[in-house]
């Protein structure tokens, strides 16, 4: 998967770093002063992730925890995300990371304790208030967690801070690193799902929808709280039928009480992400659909169509879950 491994000199001799390096004995290992000396130094085209993907092990400096944009998660609760990785091994064609970073290379930040300490500072500023922390804003949280082995530390912290909620976002079915951890009411493993044709057409190199649902089932049976993101919804002629089908498959073997929430969101792009999307995936069917630029400079379907899709999704999901557990993501 990776072509080379870049390691910051300052952390090269740490046990955690060495453990990760041991998994890549066959790769050239290059020590550098700072990951930014190479990562994003020049623009590395996004599609080079297919043939020239590099892995960086680094120590994150600067902001480790940030507030999410409005309308990000469950309403009326403060939401933050923490930065533990940059970029993703998967290649969903709509992914906003293609316009966000100037390189598709993966950076793993190994200073987990500092990230948790920053989370703790935010928690202490919101005493007695329910507060959310999201992992996977810039990456897939689980896909490489067998390498990072970071989740036991986070589980331990959140177990002792019941007002703080952790969401681990993923499309991966790599559940081994967490399945032996103690589930907690304030830790939600959330999976992005879509209709099967959409996943086949757009979620390149990701586990199939069926496998994702299997992983959800396994975790739910172990007592983990589950979140589901039907996001982004991309319209197609058979979307309604396909959406009903994926919901049916999801709830067939999973008790709705295991599902903490389901978010729904319609495909949207920033201008820069859309420019990259058009260049990287000129044959995507989204280009032939009616889209426009919204007031907040996002490229998406017109409001009527978005609301129609969201309303339909809400009606289908209402058959399985109480309404208050379904929310619209990034849509007021």
């Amino acid at each position: 998967m990776f072509q080379r491994l870049f390691v910051e000199k300052a952390i090269a001799n740490q046990a955690r770093t060495k453990k990760i390096i041991n998994n890549f004995k066959h790769l050239p290992i290059i020590e550098i002063d700072n990951y930014q000396d190479v990562f994003e130094k020049v623009r590395k085209p996004y599609l080079l992730k297919r043939s020239q993907l590099d892995l960086f092990l680094a120590h994150k400096k600067g902001s480790l925890v940030k507030q999410t944009p409005p309308a990000y998660g469950v309403k009326n609760e403060p939401h933050y995300y923490f930065i533990h990785q940059y970029n993703c091994v998967y290649e969903c064609d709509y992914c906003y990371l293609q316009g966000y970073f100037r390189s598709p290379d993966i950076v793993l930040f190994l200073n987990y304790e500092e990230i948790i300490s920053e989370i703790d500072k935010v928690v202490k500023n919101h005493q007695n208030q329910k507060i959310w922390f999201h992992a996977g804003e810039f990456s897939d949280s689980l896909a490489l967690s067998n390498l990072t082995n970071e989740w036991p530390l986070y589980f331990n912290y959140f177990k002792n801070n019941p007002n703080a909620f952790l969401e681990i976002r993923t499309k991966a079915i790599n559940i081994n690193p967490i399945k032996n951890l103690q589930p907690s009411k304030n830790i939600v493993i959330s999976f992005s799902l879509s209709t099967e044709p959409q996943a086949k057409n757009h979620d390149i190199k990701t586990p199939s929808v069926r496998n994702r649902i299997n992983a959800i089932e396994k975790l739910a049976n172990l007592g983990f709280k589950i979140g589901v993101h039907f996001d982004p919804i991309i319209y197609s002629q058979d979307w309604q039928k396909d959406f009903m089908s994926v919901c049916h498959k999801l709830f067939k073997n999973i008790n709705p009480s295991s599902i903490e929430y389901i978010s729904i969101g319609v495909i949207r792009f920033s201008k820069s992400a859309y420019k990259c999307y058009k260049t990287n995936y000129p044959n995507s069917n989204f280009h032939t659909q009616e889209i426009n630029i919204s007031n907040n400079n996002q490229i998406k379907y017109h409001q009527e169509m978005r609301f129609k899709l969201l309303k339909f999704a809400e009606e289908v999901l209402a058959k399985y879950l109480p309404k208050d557990r379904v929310y619209r993501c990034m849509e007021e």
């Binding site: 870049f6 550098i32 000396d37 020049v42 085209p45 080079l48 020239q52 044959n283 069917n285 032939t288």
Partner: protein, 280 residues
């Protein structure tokens, strides 16, 4: 209302770009190309051959001048010799380039150009000899093939919205003291190798370009295509463009149909007239 004239399929015109005449010699001879004074290029009915001269600035200038005069060019292919920072690459090996970077100044240029995402080799365009400085050492993180022109060609190709491919023959290692005279004296042999490679490999990506931008139909809001409908229409345009295709588009646009119906009627018209759609 006037209806647009029947589409005409333009011939493919491939622009072959070389830095030096020595690299191009066998192409000029074997492709029976003649010198065209007004454009300062060699030409036959399918290819135009440009000698850009050495360095990024000359490649930008000479390619830009040519493309402002020649609007029939559909694709650019760059061929030439290059150095390698990796001595594991065999000399005389010819490599398709993945991405082009510009390291010709004291700081690398942020802009890069993707050429072929399947290749593993990037080309760094420089303006001076590679030495043992930290700057040149750090270049290895970004690529191993060294030339002096490619980034300039890619820069211009992007401005003119033309696809570009690049194939580099490894002539020497940057880690060794190279002998410029030896490289010059080998130019004929390099030109032969490049030409043989060009003949054997599929160095050209475009099949043909329909005029009047018929593929704009996919962005035309008067039509709505599902993915499979788009594929069908794309196949019609690409593989067997019927004479009356554009006329039919114009006629449908004049009718007060919803976009989906227009698309359906268009496909019905041409898929029922025994046109092979090259279905997958």
């Amino acid at each position: 209302m006037a209806i647009a004239a029947k589409s005409v399929i333009l011939p493919i015109v491939i622009l072959l770009c070389f830095a030096h005449a020595g690299e191009a010699r066998v192409f000029i001879k074997n492709l029976n190309m003649a010198w065209d004074k007004p454009s300062q290029t060699y030409k036959n009915n399918k290819y135009i051959l440009l000698i850009t001269g050495e360095g990024i600035y000359k490649s930008i200038f000479n390619l830009s001048v040519l493309l402002t005069k020649e609007n029939s060019i559909t694709e650019i292919v760059n061929l030439g010799i290059a150095g390698s920072m990796n001595s594991n690459l065999a000399l005389n090996q010819i490599i398709p380039i993945a991405c082009s970077y510009n390291f010709s100044s004291s700081e690398p240029n942020f802009e890069s150009f993707l050429i072929n995402h399947n290749s593993k080799f990037n080309c760094l365009s420089v303006s001076r000899k590679i030495d043992k400085s930290n700057y040149h050492k750090s270049m290895e993180y970004f690529g191993t093939i060294i030339d002096m022109e490619l980034w300039g060609l890619c820069f211009v190709a992007k401005q003119f919205n033309l696809p570009i491919n690049s194939y580099k023959l490894i002539s020497d290692y940057t880690t060794c003291e190279n002998n410029t005279q030896t490289i010059i004296s080998n130019s004929s042999s390099y030109s032969h190798m490049l030409f043989d490679y060009f003949k054997k490999q599929n160095c050209i990506t475009k099949k043909f370009v329909p005029t009047n931008n018929i593929k704009d139909i996919f962005n035309d809001k008067k039509f709505y295509f599902t993915q499979s409908q788009k594929r069908i229409v794309d196949n019609i345009i690409t593989h067997q463009l019927p004479d009356n295709f554009e006329l039919a588009i114009q006629e449908l646009k004049l009718k007060a149909y919803p976009p989906k119906k227009r698309t359906k009627l268009l496909i019905n018209k041409f898929s029922s007239s025994n046109i092979s759609l090259n279905k997958e």
